[in-house]
Symmetry: C2
Subunit: 340 residues, 2 copies
DNA sequence: ACAGGGTGTGTTAACGCTCACAGTCTTCCC
DNA sequence: GGGAAGACTGTGAGCGTTAACACACCCTGT
């Protein structure tokens, strides 16, 4: 009786033995090294198949220093925007043969992002994408370990790192100009939370479009992205129907809240007040009325950020910062109309 | 002149040298081994701190055979349900000190899930969570590598693997009974796509509640979860206001479509027709009218699945299948009323 | 004084792979 | 026909960690 068979997964040496070659030749076949005789290659391939061999990527990562894993740090992936972006990132990364390791933060502050980056670095990721929509998160990019390839999504111009983002300013301008073109005296704005770069960009685009066209800039109503905050702002606006005829809401969820508030108060949209949202979530088309909004191509942002990151990883050396801007798109629906 | 300093990250041996101990002692400190003198421990800790040493988890994984990484396979994480579940999974996993590697599938079929599992297995994950809401995906669990700890979320009773899910049947019954209690003759149903286990469960719960109470079971209107499909079904229902007074819609997004269709056709909710949805997405509360619905605790599902998975991983040996059911909750709002 | 059992530490050998180098066997040219 | 260039393959070392063992040391009890 020999030693018990001891079922353990086959390793390269096992394949080598079966194929009658050295482990190194097996490695060469696996890595598509050119100098392997065709006949040898097929013999090795057959042995791999026969044993059901799978190469151990952990051992490989140890020696190559590359794990083919990318880290993603994101804020609350329950929201449509981050979720879509992360989805785009994941698809693009997998197509390029990379694994994706995710850290999703409940609250996003500098310390949280910092920890997440540390955590992923420990795991040995080859690069990191930070979906950093908040100013405080963007700052955390400054303490990225040197030499770690990184890309910020929606990250402002903070730090040394490349940035991919949707042109928020332009999107907001698109919305505002549309309303102005319809003959409205001015456009009110319900903004996102103060710390968010996207919120800031939208305020800026709205304000610029207004002043460029020589219109009055009303006070901003502050929201927090939630439908509820939109609802509250909507209630306030509903009391001012004599002056308010058009409002640009910083995202579709808040716009839903506004719609609800207006419905309760008997304010008709778009007859009395026109509304434009932002994001184009899948629900917007079925709001009552269907929401005119600005579409962000989150998928494109995700894909683009992976492009940039992989280029950085493959360059090996330090790269110069890139800055990519994905254009937003105006989507006309039924929540806007000509001024009375 | 000696050799150039060659800035490479410090390894255990470097720490050992600085602390004046062997690398093994450093390892012991890092792994909280009991037999280390307190004084030695602090010396090592100080050296670690001084050098900024971080242990190489890849090397560790190679020898321990544990990567402390969990794999998650999910269908389209852009949807609220999967996104919330994955979020819950990720939080729970990270709290337990595990990394999470995600594969998000555009289309979920057996081959796709199979590939995803292979992919994650190659990466050396310690266990896999499959968010397998479709029958075809659930089948793919059968070709899970033997010995790989796994949990299915919303996976039916397929295969050998443990399952965590929301009690869809009970949720649908809750919705249906609520409508019946309001005095409606019967309840119509707009279902999810045929292949989905959740859709099936909801149909079943609805049908059972109806027959148990001795009511007629109308034909099912088939939807596909999208607001648009709900809209189409709503249009059809709007033509039948004489017989239809209550409808249970299999998810909130479709309910939104129904609401839109009814608004267009002048059907008043809840005065003429009552509607109950399913999921309780953040928007539902601000639909017009606010939607009565069934809440699924996705976070609980995610956390529970990690519990089960970790127990399986830590047990090392083969475990018996577990089956966990998270109860749904009825959320009363304004889209339902007493029958005329 | 000496066996016995902790406690603390060092030494050596894996883990499964790739890299660098050293071979061997062709082939081709003068 | 000899030598060089190229194609193909094997050998050995090393990646940074943990596991297994060996060893020195201290305490206890007889």
């Amino acid at each position: 009786m020999g030693p018990s068979p001891e079922r353990r997964p086959p390793v390269m040496a096992d394949v080598a033995k079966v194929a009658g070659v050295s482990h190194q030749t097996v490695s060469r076949v696996l890595n598509d090294h050119p100098n392997v005789r065709a006949e040898t290659r097929t013999r090795v391939l057959r042995a791999i198949d026969q044993l059901g061999y799978r190469r151990n990527l952990v051992a490989r990562a140890l020696v190559t220093k590359h794990s083919r894993t990318l880290g993603v740090v994101s804020f609350d992936t329950t929201l449509y925007g981050p979720a879509s972006t992360v989805y785009g990132i994941e698809q693009a990364a997998r197509e390029a043969g990379y694994f994706v390791s995710i850290v999703s933060l409940r609250t996003i502050d500098r310390a949280g992002v910092h920890d997440a980056i540390d955590y992923l670095t420990d795991q040995g990721v080859d690069g990191i994408v930070v979906v950093a929509p908040q100013r405080s998160a963007a700052q955390a990019l400054e303490d990225m370990p040197t030499g770690m390839p990184a890309v910020a999504v929606e990250g402002g111009q903070a730090g040394e790192v490349s940035v991919v983002s949707v042109d928020q300013v332009e999107g907001a301008a698109l919305a505002t100009r549309h309303l102005l073109d319809l003959g409205h005296e001015t456009v009110w704005h319900i903004s996102g939370p103060a710390d968010w770069l996207e919120a800031e960009g939208r305020v800026q685009g709205w304000r610029e479009a207004l002043t460029a066209a020589g219109h009055r800039v009303p006070d901003v109503l502050a929201g927090d992205w939630s439908p509820r905050s939109g609802y509250r702002a909507g209630k306030r606006l509903a009391e001012m129907t004599s002056e308010v005829t058009a409002v640009f809401v910083a995202n579709d969820q808040m716009a839903l809240g506004v719609l609800r508030a207006f419905a309760e108060e008997g304010v008709r949209v778009p007859e009395q007040i026109s509304i434009v949202g932002f994001d184009d979530i899948p629900e917007s088309e079925f709001f009552s009325p269907p929401l005119t909004t600005i579409r962000q191509d989150f998928g494109a942002v995700g894909r683009r950020s992976i492009d940039v990151l992989l280029r950085q990883i493959e360059a090996e050396g330090p790269c110069e910062r890139e800055r990519h801007v994905v254009p937003p798109r105006f989507v006309a629906r039924a929540s806007t109309a000509h001024a009375r």
